[in-house]
């Protein structure tokens, strides 16, 4: 069985997800195209989710071994869902809202992502192909031949169909920029605005809520933004420099100058490292939950591993439709072009489950990159087993005017705690803006 769309009536009555799907309704049905075939989509949902719902697990091939690649994180944090869209290569389809008539093509495969003859590279080098060293140790003609071979075989998509024109950029001047409209980001922006600061709140997603948008057990309304906050959704911060932050809003560059910058960029999910973890059909629990919140069941036979928030919400929503092993670790994913099963281990016992979706609530990292670029000191945390920006009790980092809030700072804490943290960090940033000292 393949992934499919579900209806509110497929779920137990009173389930929060059933209420969310009922609220979505059946409006906005559009058709997109994938490799020449029509695909039913819902306007505005991530294109990767539309493709998943149509059973298109394999979207591309990996750069070197031409191993199948498919959506894995649905958060713009991996290479899984890159496709060519309307003649433009390397589009992250998880970050691209589906629109009527969109033409998506799989890339980096010959002839198609499903049957790619270049996958022999994977068989020729069963352990690995150490291209960094192998390709540089021969001199002269042989080296040049190897380079040509490597260029043909490897790499991402091919050049765009046409020369694109880009809209004029924009430049904004504010007192405070808050990146991330989850629970802490919204609370922080509100605290700043209520104190009289001119605040810009940006989030790469289509609305507020952060991780709550992806939790099928959470159907409560998101706290609103104060009307004084300027909000931009579909606006991702991509770079921070000394006093400027570059935001990409609907394909347009926006340069933001802000005296205070608050990063509420959250945590980052990964499935961890195990054999065959890259096979299409292996998802982070958050990715699977995100698809569910769009009414898409990413597999019919679901093996769920781990005990984090998203694993618990998936188990609570789907009940005995999933095989949940909260304490297990994945030894190996089974299957070639798509996942067929998994070898799991717990307390010295090993067993095999059959599945067409392997969902792992695995390792969490902090999304520290932007805060780090802005100059905050980022250090390893033994407690959280990841890199975290250093911050004081009120979220101030080692760099003046740079603050961190919410899950980025604390890991996975509950909604109310994230909101309280955001408000406290906002109050601190406000004091610093007014020059009231530390």
């Amino acid at each position: 069985m393949a992934p499919r769309r579900i209806l509110p009536t497929d779920l137990p009555p009173g389930s929060p997800l059933a209420r969310r799907l009922a609220a979505l309704g059946s409006s906005g049905r559009v058709t997109v195209e994938h490799d020449g075939s029509p695909v039913a989509a819902v306007e505005g949902e991530p294109l990767a989710v539309s493709l998943l719902a149509a059973g298109q697990l394999t979207l591309a091939r990996s750069v070197k071994y031409h191993r199948p690649r498919g959506a894995m994180c649905l958060r713009g944090d991996c290479d899984g869902c890159l496709v060519r869209v309307d003649g433009v290569p390397n589009v992250m389809s998880c970050q691209t809202p589906a629109r009527a008539g969109m033409v998506a093509q799989s890339q980096n495969a010959f002839p198609t992502a499903g049957i790619d003859v270049l996958r022999v590279t994977d068989w020729f080098f069963p352990r690995h192909l150490d291209h960094h060293h192998l390709l540089v140790q021969f001199g002269g003609a042989l080296n040049r031949t190897m380079q040509v071979f490597a260029r043909r075989m490897a790499g991402l998509g091919t050049l765009p169909d046409a020369i694109a024109s880009f809209p004029r950029s924009e430049s904004l001047d504010v007192d405070a920029l808050v990146v991330g409209a989850g629970s802490s980001g919204v609370a922080c922006a509100n605290a700043l605005a209520r104190g009289g600061a001119r605040v810009l709140l940006v989030d790469e997603r289509e609305g507020p809520g952060g991780m709550r948008r992806d939790d099928p057990m959470d159907d409560r309304a998101y706290p609103g933004c104060d009307p004084a906050v300027t909000v931009r959704y579909g606006a991702g911060a991509v770079a921070t420099y000394d006093d400027e932050t570059l935001v990409i809003h609907e394909g347009r560059g926006v340069t933001v100058r802000a005296r205070a910058r608050v990063f509420a960029t959250g945590a980052r999910e990964s499935v961890g490292v195990f054999s065959q973890s890259d096979v299409p059909g292996v998802f982070t629990a958050r990715a699977f939950a995100l698809a569910l919140c769009h009414g898409v069941l990413a597999g019919e036979r679901v093996a769920l591993v781990g005990d984090g928030l998203f694993a618990r919400s998936i188990a609570a929503t789907l009940g005995d439709r999933v095989t949940h092993s909260p304490g297990a670790a994945v030894v190996e994913a089974l299957g070639g072009r798509a996942v067929k099963g998994a070898k799991l281990r717990e307390g010295g016992r090993e067993w095999t489950v059959k599945c067409d979706a392997l969902v792992v609530d695995g390792e969490l990292g902090a999304a520290y990159e932007l805060a780090g670029q802005a100059g905050a000191s980022v250090l390893w945390s033994d407690g959280r087993q990841c890199f975290v920006p250093e911050s004081d009790a009120e979220g101030a980092t080692s760099r003046e005017g740079v603050y961190v809030a919410g899950s980025l700072r604390w890991g996975r804490i509950d909604h109310d705690a994230r909101a309280r943290d955001g408000a406290a960090v906002g109050a601190r940033a406000l004091r610093d803006l007014r020059g009231e000292g530390r």
């Binding site: 750069v63 290479d79 880009f166 004029r168 560059g253 490292v273 054999s275 190996e332 990292g365 087993q385």
Partner: protein, 91 residues
């Protein structure tokens, strides 16, 4: 497919390669990156830097203090967008 454990899926770097880098004497995350190329692909390490740090911690008994330097941009950005930054509308 052959059974590979991908540490860095963007650049097809396997766990095996990282272990080989360790055996070759590379004990810090920056050297392991330069030796294997992990963390240099599409996602720039969002998926693999932490995984590699955990492996180093296990193998050497000490986690790296700092990550590989997070450089802009966070996601790949079209050069056309960057080129258009010169003539901004003031907001």
């Amino acid at each position: 497919m052959t059974a590979k454990a991908m540490l860095c899926r963007c650049e097809d770097v396997t766990l095996d390669e990282v272990m080989e880098a360790l055996e070759a004497g590379h004990r810090d995350i920056e050297s392991v990156k330069r030796y294997t190329g992990f963390g240099t692909g599409w996602c720039q390490g969002k998926q693999c830097v932490v995984a590699c740090a955990r492996i180093l911690a296990k193998a050497t008994g000490r986690a790296p203090e700092l990550p590989i330097t997070p450089r802009p941009p966070l996601h790949p950005v079209a050069l056309g967008v960057l080129a258009s930054l010169g003539d901004a509308e003031e907001g």
